[in-house]
């Protein structure tokens, strides 16, 4: 038993810290810390900084311009980034499509798309969910019908995150209605500029715009944009889901949020004293903190196992559930801590002498509402429980 990083891992951790302290622009980290919406330029700026260091695709094999990071290196990198309030890396190209192309793509597809992901030429988005197919993804109905060298695609995708910034989309589409629903799905790449594609923003609960509907009407897609064989899209989707497990527990974000919460509870006063001296509120912080500490260790256990066996095991679903619950509990306490000051919207409107919340917390309520999403997307916590139940009870 040894919970500490190896000397090599520690050295890498130091390296990441030094890099972040030197290269992460304060404008960006302040925006992240305050929960403000990032612009497309913000993301691109950060991606470019990372790419210059060769770390944007750090987990990619060296052959594709990456560093071939182990799961633990990847974890260290992401945790440090979160602690430093770096913008998150937009995952659709780097963590989703990239690995899919490496495993299922043709040589030509890899050569065309992988470099454009790293250098920022392409911004991908993900066309999975549909209005009628959320948790039950396999019931998707967007049709792709072969017409010579093209597929003609008709249908609708939804919850497409940051599609407003994207120029490309990878989609699950139905190419056959025979057999089980899973068997007729294909994985198709599209140019968002194609005629017949329309992106419409969806406004979210807290007022922001980060997801979209994508309408597909007689969109012509070259057959060369098919990834893998026709009707094998479900295998690819499952691979992607099983592969994309790093940062699933979001412990880096949560550790940073806990730190922010404690500062907030010291700054805010209730009953004439700092809120952190309130025994009930302090006990709640203590309770979240012990849960977070346990999630952090469970996360390390999963990483160690993945390093050995190559598979994350059922801990992945557990981490998704517990990691999101802890993160939401932290959002909840930050919102609560502000009392009446949490309610004004948008809080940035109140500045200077009239500012209501300590720096970094004006968006506490908005972040709380927005983060209700994390236990819904990427396979809701209910779906994760179904998966775990199958393993546990057969």
């Amino acid at each position: 038993m040894d919970l500490s990083y190896s000397p090599e891992e520690q050295e890498f951790q130091d390296e990441v810290r030094a890099f972040l302290s030197e290269k992460l622009p304060g404008e960006l980290s302040n925006k992240v810390r305050r929960g403000q919406e990032l612009t497309k330029a913000d993301y691109e700026r950060w991606h470019a900084i990372l790419n210059a260091r060769g770390w944007l695709g750090g987990a990619w094999p060296k052959a594709y311009g990456g560093q071939g990071w182990s799961a633990i290196f990847q974890h260290i990198f992401e945790e440090e980034c979160a602690l430093a309030h770096a913008p998150r890396i937009v995952p659709f190209g780097l963590k989703m499509l990239g690995p899919v192309l490496m495993k299922f793509g043709t040589e030509a597809q890899r050569a065309e798309y992988l470099p454009r992901i790293l250098d920022g030429t392409d911004w991908w988005c993900q066309g999975y969910s549909e209005p009628g197919a959320g948790s039950d993804l396999a019931s998707l109905r967007t049709r792709a019908v072969r017409d010579g060298d093209h597929y003609i695609v008709n249908g609708q995708k939804t919850w497409t995150t940051l599609a407003q910034h994207a120029n490309r989309i990878f989609c699950l589409v139905r190419t056959s209605t025979e057999g089980k629903p899973q068997e007729g799905i294909s994985f198709l790449l599209m140019d968002l500029d194609s005629p017949g594609i329309e992106v419409r923003p969806i406004r979210l609960i807290e007022g922001g715009y980060e997801v979209n509907e994508v309408f597909l009407t007689d969109v012509r897609v070259p057959v060369g944009n098919l990834v893998g064989e026709e009707n094998t899209g479900w295998t690819i989707a499952k691979y992607l889901l099983g592969h994309e497990r790093s940062n699933i527990a979001m412990t880096g974000f949560s550790v940073a949020a806990l730190d922010g919460l404690k500062k907030l509870a010291r700054a805010v006063r209730r009953g004439g004293k700092p809120l952190i001296e309130n025994p009930l509120f302090a006990a709640r912080i203590a309770e979240v903190e012990m849960d977070l500490e346990a999630v952090r260790i469970t996360n390390l256990r999963m990483l160690a196992r993945a390093e050995k066996t190559g598979a994350p095991g059922p801990e992945a679903s557990m981490l998704k559930i517990k990691g999101t619950v802890v993160r939401q509990a932290l959002n909840d306490l930050a919102r609560q801590a502000l009392g009446p000051a949490a309610a004004p919207f948008p809080s940035e409107a109140l500045e200077g002498n009239l500012a209501l919340a300590p720096d970094g917390h004006a968006q506490a309520a908005a972040s709380y509402f927005n983060n209700r999403k994390i236990s819904i997307y990427g396979g809701s916590n209910e779906i994760q429980r179904n998966i775990l139940a199958k393993g546990m009870l057969g």
């Binding site: 959320g134 039950d136 019931s139 406004r203 004004p344 908005a366 509402f369 997307y377 809701s380 209910e382």
Partner: protein, 350 residues
């Protein structure tokens, strides 16, 4: 024992419900709730014409109500409709004017809009702990998140005067008012008084303010129950009709049991509000109101979180009313003391 609403109250609640159906439909409500001035004069007039504000005072005081159940029978429909108008501020203001024996006519007919300026940035929910002062006929200090302050004609201010908490009336024009909207809709304001001329309505106002706050808490608890009812109705409808894996999601037992728990808790909320309404004006008022505010606060958050989680993505969108109920149900706990604040008060009474 009788748990039926009186005919008078039922008539008022029904009329109010019909008015809100017309004047506060989802799209119109959302527009009013989120755009300056966060207030619809027509809706306000409609409420006033209904005689709504008269329900908050007793016949002695010039109204036709004034009991706990008069408050709850009004605020439940307001909660169901997510009405963003500052009725709460008007109600608490009227209570205090009546207690002070001051003129209530213009406020009763809605032509004068009142706001209670009590909370301060470092002393939320504790009027005694504020540092606003009244001296030589002038008020100096800052009041924060004043509900209804965005449209108020007059502020009723808690201020220290001669070592006591006094209630002072200040015309809105004499204060520096920064209005803003709220994340759950509707408006409030920051109010700064700099040597603002004020008139003392009650010199030793601790008890009067505490009573007005209790009435406000009861109103909010009832509003929460109304909003829960509406949120649950949307939610059960969704569970019955939305299909996943080839069947309505309401047939999945894990969701069923959680849905049932929400229904049970909503009945708990309804019961504790009835208890508090009945306790108004008795010795049990303070404890019963604290229980009602704490328990409804806790349950409101549960209903908000669970209805979002079980409905999934759609409940995260602005277009679907469920998200707006979730916001109101969550943020209602931030007004006049949250569940923890009142639980702590109750813990000292056990």
């Amino acid at each position: 024992m009788n748990f039926e609403m009186s005919d008078d109250r039922r008539m008022l609640a029904d009329s109010l419900g019909r008015l809100l159906d017309d004047a506060c439909g989802f799209e119109h409500r959302t527009k009013v709730a989120y755009e300056a001035p966060w207030h619809d004069p027509a809706m306000w007039s409609g409420l006033a014409e209904l005689g709504l504000f008269h329900a908050f005072l007793s016949e002695d005081q010039g109204g036709f109500g004034g009991a706990g159940f008069d408050i709850t029978c009004v605020f439940e429909p307001l909660g169901r409709a997510l009405c963003p108008e500052p009725v709460l501020a008007q109600m608490m203001g009227l209570t205090l004017l009546a207690t002070a024996g001051a003129e209530t006519g213009p406020a009763l007919d809605g032509t004068e809009r009142l706001a209670l300026a009590v909370d301060e940035p470092d002393a939320p929910w504790e009027p005694e702990a504020g540092s606003t002062e009244f001296r030589g006929g002038k008020v100096t200090g800052r009041k924060s998140v004043v509900y209804g302050g965005h449209v108020a004609d007059r502020f009723l201010v808690a201020a220290l005067a001669d070592g006591k908490t006094a209630l002072v009336s200040v015309a809105a024009g004499d204060a520096s008012v920064t209005p803003y909207g709220m994340i759950d809709g509707g408006g409030a304001s920051e109010v700064v008084f700099e040597e603002a001329p004020g008139e003392v309505l009650i010199a030793d106002a601790g008890a009067a303010i505490a009573d007005a706050l209790d009435r406000g808490r009861l109103a909010l608890a009832a509003e929460a129950v109304g909003a829960m009812d509406a949120a649950l109705a949307l939610f059960t409808d969704y569970l019955k009709t939305r299909k996943q894996f080839g069947r309505p999601i309401g047939t999945f037992q894990a969701l069923q049991h959680r849905a049932v728990d929400l229904a049970i808790e909503t009945e708990q909320a309804r019961s504790i509000v009835i208890r508090a309404a009945a306790a108004m004006g008795t010795e049990a008022q303070g404890k019963a109101v604290a229980q009602a505010k704490a328990l409804t606060g806790k349950i409101a958050r549960l209903v908000a979180e669970e209805t979002i989680q079980m409905q999934g993505g759609v409940a995260m969108t602005w277009e679907y009313p469920s998200s707006h109920y979730a916001k109101r149900l969550t943020m209602i706990d931030h007004q006049l003391g949250d569940a923890m604040f009142h639980t702590e008060r109750l813990a000292k009474m056990v």
